[in-house]
Symmetry: C2
Amino acid sequence: MNVKRFKENPLITPEDVKPFHDNHEVIGVFNAGVAEFDGETLLLLRVAEQPISEHPEVVKAPVIDFTNGTGKLRIVDLDKSNPIYDFSDPRSINFISDGRGAYLTSLSYIRLARSKDGRHFTVDDTPFIYPGTEREAWGVEDPRVTHIGETYYIQYSAVSPEGIGVGLISTKNFSTYERHGLILHPENKDVAIFPEKINGKYYTLHRPVPKGIGRPEIWIAESDNLLYWGNHQYLLGLSEDGWDNGRIGGGAVPFKTEKGWLEIYHAADQNNRYCLGAVLLDLENPARILAKTEVPILEPEAEYETSGFFGNVVFTCGVTLRGDNVRVYYGASDTSVAAADLSLEEILSKLTYL
Amino acid sequence: MNVKRFKENPLITPEDVKPFHDNHEVIGVFNAGVAEFDGETLLLLRVAEQPISEHPEVVKAPVIDFTNGTGKLRIVDLDKSNPIYDFSDPRSINFISDGRGAYLTSLSYIRLARSKDGRHFTVDDTPFIYPGTEREAWGVEDPRVTHIGETYYIQYSAVSPEGIGVGLISTKNFSTYERHGLILHPENKDVAIFPEKINGKYYTLHRPVPKGIGRPEIWIAESDNLLYWGNHQYLLGLSEDGWDNGRIGGGAVPFKTEKGWLEIYHAADQNNRYCLGAVLLDLENPARILAKTEVPILEPEAEYETSGFFGNVVFTCGVTLRGDNVRVYYGASDTSVAAADLSLEEILSKLTYL
C-alpha cells in the first residue's frame, strides 16, 4: 500500500496545545473526529490532560464531580503503595481484586482545530465538548462526526465509573450544540454512523466489549431517528492470529463508493499493536460484508507512530475525500495527530472478496 | 416480610419435563416468564437440557449449528484433561487463558406451561421458542413477558459465542410469533419492558455487564417503538457490602401502583447468593428512584432454594396481581419453578424513601 504520510507529521502534538486546567499537562492530542465546515477542515481533537504530581509516589487522578449539579474538576491523590490498586497501565488505575478500572490517569475532552488546507491547523484555546453529565465524569473521548443534511452528529465515548457508553451531540455551527444522551449502553465505543439513510434506515457501526462471553468485535445497528438503536447484528470478528486477533473496532465514518460502503477500521493484535484495515459493505445492506483487506493498509512505522504515551498505535476517527484521494487523519501512539493520503482505487484493489 | 410459599413448591421440576432432545436430560426448568392469556396463567419456562455423557472424562457441549442455514443440534465432545479449558463452573466451560466462555454445558429454550389456577401446571410437550438465529446458537434464556394492547412482547437472553444480547419476540396467541432481532447488544440481559407508554415513551430496565469499567447494575432506556432503544440512563447500583454487592438486575415486569412503578428485582452478593428486592420508580419518570427495600423481600431459605444445580438462588421473571396479592413466580437454584404470595401493601411499607 502506497501511504503518503504528511511531511509535516505529526501535525499536532501536545506541545501545540495549552492546558485548559491549572497544574495540568497535555499528555495527548489524538484520535480526532473530522468535519468539513464553512470552507475549513475541522479536527475534533481528543485532548488528554494529566494533573502534575510533585511527589513521585503520588498519582493524581482527575474526575469531574457532579455532586452539586454542575461539574467541577476534582483531583484524587492516590498513593502508589496502596495495595488495592494496580498502577502498571499508564492509562488507568485498576482495582487489583477484579481488574476493573478505578480511575483514569488523565481527563479527555474535545477541542477544535481549524485548517484552510487540511495540513496546517490552529488549535482553539478552550474546550469544545467538555464532560457535561455524570456519565462523562471521567471524560469524553474519540469523537466521530457524521454530516447529515445541515447537521453534524458527533458520536463519542462517554466515560464514567459506571462504564464506557456512547454519547451523541448534534451541532449546525460547531459553536453551540445539543446533547442527546447515551445512544448505546456500556461497554461500547467506536461508533461510526453512516452519513445517509439506507433503504429507509440509519445504520451505525459499534463495538461492544462483553465480559463473560464474546470479544471486542464490530457490530452494526439500525435506527429511525439516530437516537434509538436496535436490530443489532454481528458484523466483523477477530482473526485467530495475525494483526487483528486482539480487538477490532470502527474507525472513520463509512463513505460511499461505487463498489460499496467503505469503512476504514482499526484492529490490534494481542500485543496492542494497532493498525488500520478496510472493509467493503453492501450498498443496499451494510450488514453484509462484501470484501476486506487481508493485511493492514496503514501500520505503525514512523517514529511518532511507534513511540509515545502508548506506542505502536495508529487509530483513525475520520477521513476527507477528494476524487481518488482518501486523506486519513489518525492518532499516533495516543500522543499526537498525523495524516496520510491514500488512493481509493488502490484500497479497493487490495480488497479480498468473500 | 411475610412470604407465603406455595405448599406445592417446587411447582415444576426437571422430572416434570420430558427432554426434547434424544440422549439428553433436563437439568433445569426455571426463570419463567409469566403471562395471563385466555383465562390461563402461562409460564414461559426456561428449560435447560444437557447431553448425557457416557464417559466421566468427556463433557458434552450442545450448540445449534446454523452453518447450512437452518439450525441443527451439534454436540461437541470435550476431554476434561484438555488444558485450554476450565471445567470448574457447572454452567459453562471457560477458556483458561482469558476466562471467556468457550461453551455452555446445557442448551436452554422456552417451553410453555399452562394453568387454570396459577398453581397446578401442565407442561407442553415441545418447545415454544427454540434457538432460531446464529445469535441464539447457545440458547435462549430467562424470558420476561410484557402485555401491551393485544400483543405480548417476550424479551429474553440470546446467547451465542459472540455474546449475550437481548432478543425480542411478539405474539398474540402464544402459538405463532414474530422475531424482532436483538434490541440490545452484548453484554446485556435482565430486560423488563414497562407495560405502557409513560409520557409518550416506552421504557425498559436492562442490565449491561461491562468489562473494563463498571459493574453489573441496572440501567433504563427509552423507545418509540419497542424495537429501537436509546437515552440509556444508569438507575440502580450495587452496594459496597451486603446482599446486593455482587450483581443486580431487573426481575419481574414492573407494575403500576398508586405510589409508583414497583419493580421486583434480583441481587446477588459476592458469594452468588441471589435474593429479591423491590424498588419504587416515579410514575411520570421511571428513571427516578423514589424508594427501595434495604433488605430482601424473598431470599433462599427453603431446601429447593438453597440446594440444586446452582444453589442459593431465587430469581423472578414475572408476577401476577390480584388486589393486594403479588404472586411471585421464581426460579429456585437454577433447577425448578416455585411461587409465593406477598402482600403489596406490606412490600410498599418496607420501602425506604430516598
